[in-house]
Symmetry: C2
Subunit: 221 residues, 2 copies
DNA sequence: ACCTGAACACCGTTCAAGT
DNA sequence: ACCTGAACACCGTTCAAGT
């Protein structure tokens, strides 16, 4: 029974490394995702990883890309712009919730510019079809992405925090303190709706008011 | 010439520590903001900091609170809801751009729940006046906060990256590649406008459609 | 109340050398 | 092409002990 070499074959590929790193991330969390632990799990010394990646950030970017891969499966062709905003946002949240600490990891890879926007290409496909100005659509893609990543980062932190029993304290004594919100998935979707509605308002007024201007922004009259 | 004790007096307060930490953050960046460096600058050993703070994250939260302090100065009483969203968002970005790596630092303190939302209290003041349902206003505050922090995190990373000359490479060879955008502050404001417009649409339909429902969400008819 | 000294158990990264 | 061995220059945190 011969395998591709990711199990025991002593010699590894970039993909083996990032796959194992994702597994360890999910099992032990980001703080324990060290070069030595990853190397150990691959039965290799830490220095070996530097043949595959120039540094730890690059390795983490590869893990981020793996986490975001399912975004490519979202089929947006038949959706309205507003629908696409909501579905892409919801799917992004699912991708991030699928692995422990994934939102924190992806947040930093995104900020460092080491992975591409997981939303932009697909959103642009539908906004172009509906003649929404490109710069406007790009701004919307950024707004959705940053909101979803930030929201899910916070949400995921609360989830793993009280799975470790770190928060209860006197929670039952002070029911008015809703700072640790009840993980309301409805409020997430409401925020996406808000952004989607905002995009429609702004792009409608961009189509109506004055010529679109060189960058697609409309001046109010 | 006697000073309050933050300069040379050998003995320090919590505030001395976070003030010095903010200074070092701005000068040397987050990766070099170590317990030993902070202690050194205060002419003290690293272990001394653990009398003032239980751990590094708590110290960093105090620094985050310092960075966000100017948010309290925003006077929103006379603003419309939409105006408040835009001004609070713009001011938050200014707070984060005022110190090196501040967006990254605040992003993590916020996600860990170690600092309060810098937007919510003031936004709630104006939405209550205009009878926007509270839960809706809270969602909007989260959307604005997460968007601004994420956007500015990314923006600030680009700024310090190319101040270190790390990005140029072949930028001039491929002018179509706008991945490193021209730091357009206009696009930031456009995104805030989008969210503000979205909030108005949703809250208008919440006021009109059906009874507001127990949580302020309206069902579409 | 505030700090030192010394230790513990780690980090990411480099680089000559091996096969 | 892929990895080892050994080192370098660090980390955050704890805790008895000092003043």
């Amino acid at each position: 029974m011969v395998m591709s070499g990711s199990q025991d074959g002593r010699r590894h590929s970039r993909d083996d490394v990032s796959e194992m790193a994702l597994r360890l991330l999910d099992e032990y969390g980001l703080p324990d995702l060290t070069m030595r632990h990853i190397a150990n799990a691959l039965e290799v010394r830490a220095s070996a990883l530097y043949w595959h990646f120039p540094n730890k950030q690059a390795l983490l970017a590869a893990v981020s890309a793996r986490i975001l891969r399912p975004m490519e499966d979202v089929r947006v062709e038949e959706m309205t712009v507003s629908e696409a905003v909501r579905r892409l946002g919801a799917r992004l949240r699912e991708c991030l919730l699928a692995y422990r600490d994934a939102a924190e990891l992806v947040s930093s890879s995104l900020a460092l510019g080491l992975v591409d926007s997981p939303i932009r290409p697909q959103l642009l496909a539908v906004t172009r079809r509906d003649e929404v100005p490109d710069p406007l659509a790009r701004v919307a893609a950024e707004a959705v992405m940053h909101f979803v990543v930030g929201y899910t980062f916070h949400e995921q932190q609360r989830l793993t925090a009280d799975s470790f029993g770190l928060l209860p304290e006197d929670a039952s004594l002070n029911p008015d303190d809703v700072s640790a919100s009840p993980s309301d998935a409805g409020e997430f979707e409401e925020a996406l709706t808000m952004i989607a509605d905002g995009l429609e308002v702004v792009s409608a007024s961009a189509r109506a008011g004055a010529r679109p201007g060189p960058d697609g922004r409309a001046e109010s009259s």
